[in-house]
């Protein structure tokens, strides 16, 4: 550590350092052990000259405070860790509880069909009402939609109701403007 820094430190203590030099120096006090030691010694000298020395015990204060604050920091960290572990555990239990509750509700619904049964068919099992293979049933709306798409699909990509791909639809495509493509073959297919 240079003499210049220590001289600045001495001036800072006396409130005689230009403002612009202060901030950096104060930062250095908290990062340089040597500078902190000089800071300590200079203040001790001033206290002794003003007869403000409390006793040898005072020199134990800084290490004791530092240790206590470090311990407190560790304690807070452990406390936060404990709290995190507990909250994770509680959240896990809550999720399991909710899953169990949902499962029992579903089971109870499956066991008694009253809830979903139509009003006129009380006592009908839900299973028989729910487990209808709707895909096998004729769906008028769906058939109508498929027909509509067939008629309005110029590329013939929509399967027809019989399940065949409308391969012939390609020929029904409007011809490409070959002149705009610099003489490319009109047989270009997609």
């Amino acid at each position: 550590m240079s003499d210049l820094l220590r001289e600045q430190l001495s001036a800072l203590m006396d409130g005689e350092l230009p403002h612009e030099e202060c901030e950096l120096l104060v930062k250095r006090i908290s990062t340089s052990a040597d500078l902190a030691q000089s800071w300590h010694a200079y203040h001790l000298i001033g206290d002794a000259l003003r007869d403000q020395l409390a006793g040898g015990d005072a020199e134990q204060l800084a290490p004791r405070v530092r240790e206590a604050l470090t311990e407190e920091g560790k304690e807070r960290f452990h406390h936060a860790g404990r709290w995190r572990r507990w909250s994770t555990l509680v959240a896990g239990i809550a999720v399991l509880g909710l899953a169990g509750l949902a499962g029992s509700l579903i089971t109870s619904h499956m066991d008694s069909g009253k809830v979903f049964a139509p009003s006129g068919a009380s006592g009908t099992r839900v299973g028989s009402a729910i487990h209808v293979d709707w895909r096998s049933e004729p769906q008028p709306v769906q058939a109508e939609l498929s027909r509509y798409l067939m008629m309005h699909d110029p590329y013939g990509l929509t399967p027809n109701p019989s399940g065949d791909k409308a391969g012939g639809a390609v020929t029904a495509m409007p011809p490409l403007n070959t002149s705009a493509q610099g003489g490319q073959s009109s047989n270009t297919s997609y």
Binding site: D14, H19, L49, G56
Partner: protein
């Protein structure tokens, strides 16, 4: 154009700002600066040196915890002073509420005197250390060249500014600053073995 100078309180303000930003080492610098004054203040209320040390430690810990809310309306030491007086008064209050302490009745003057002497006898090393520190500093001051001694005494004991010292000593401010620094350095070297 003269540069704007700081006051001694400005250094505290900057250190406080750093502590508030999470720099614990900056708080250590504040403790190093004020530990003697705080312990001396607490010792005026709490006679037992061990208890006084505990209370002084508590003062700094309380200050550290409360520092986030310190807005700087007053000087840091004024604020710390209030914490110290409150903590010392609380400690006295606690001692009054618990009259039997360490097997001795603190209401009994004879027993209190016995306890005081026992405590004094228990801390000869501490008293010796303080005495040695004072003696070493005084001796080092005596051994300084007269300009250096005069400059540091005008600053530390009389509390004069560099400008005022420059007028008294008929020297430039820069010379005063340098003399005070050199005086501090010389004395600091002499007490170094005691601080290790």
């Amino acid at each position: 154009m003269t540069k704007e100078k700081t006051s001694s309180a400005d250094a505290d303000r900057l250190l406080v700002k750093r502590v508030q930003a999470g720099d614990q080492a900056a708080f250590n610098a504040l403790v190093l600066k004020y530990q003697q004054r705080v312990l001396k203040l607490v010792s005026r209320y709490v006679r037992d040196p061990e208890e006084a040390l505990d209370v002084a430690q508590e003062v700094f810990i309380r200050a550290y915890r409360a520092l986030k809310g310190f807005r700087g309306d007053s000087a840091f030491y004024t604020w710390l002073y209030r914490i110290a007086v409150n903590a010392a008064k609380n400690a006295i209050g606690a001692a009054t509420r618990n009259p039997v302490e360490g097997g001795l009745d603190v209401d009994d003057p004879e027993l209190v005197e016995v306890q005081r002497r026992m405590t004094d006898e228990a801390t000869p090393e501490r008293l010796l250390y303080t005495e040695e520190l004072k003696e070493t500093i005084n001796r080092a001051i005596e051994e300084l060249p007269s300009e250096l001694r005069r400059a540091i005494l005008l600053r530390e004991v009389k509390g004069l500014s560099y400008e005022e010292i420059a007028q008294v000593m008929d020297s430039p401010v820069g010379t005063v600053r340098s003399r005070i620094f050199r005086a501090r350095e010389a004395v600091a070297q002499s007490i170094k073995p005691l601080l290790e």
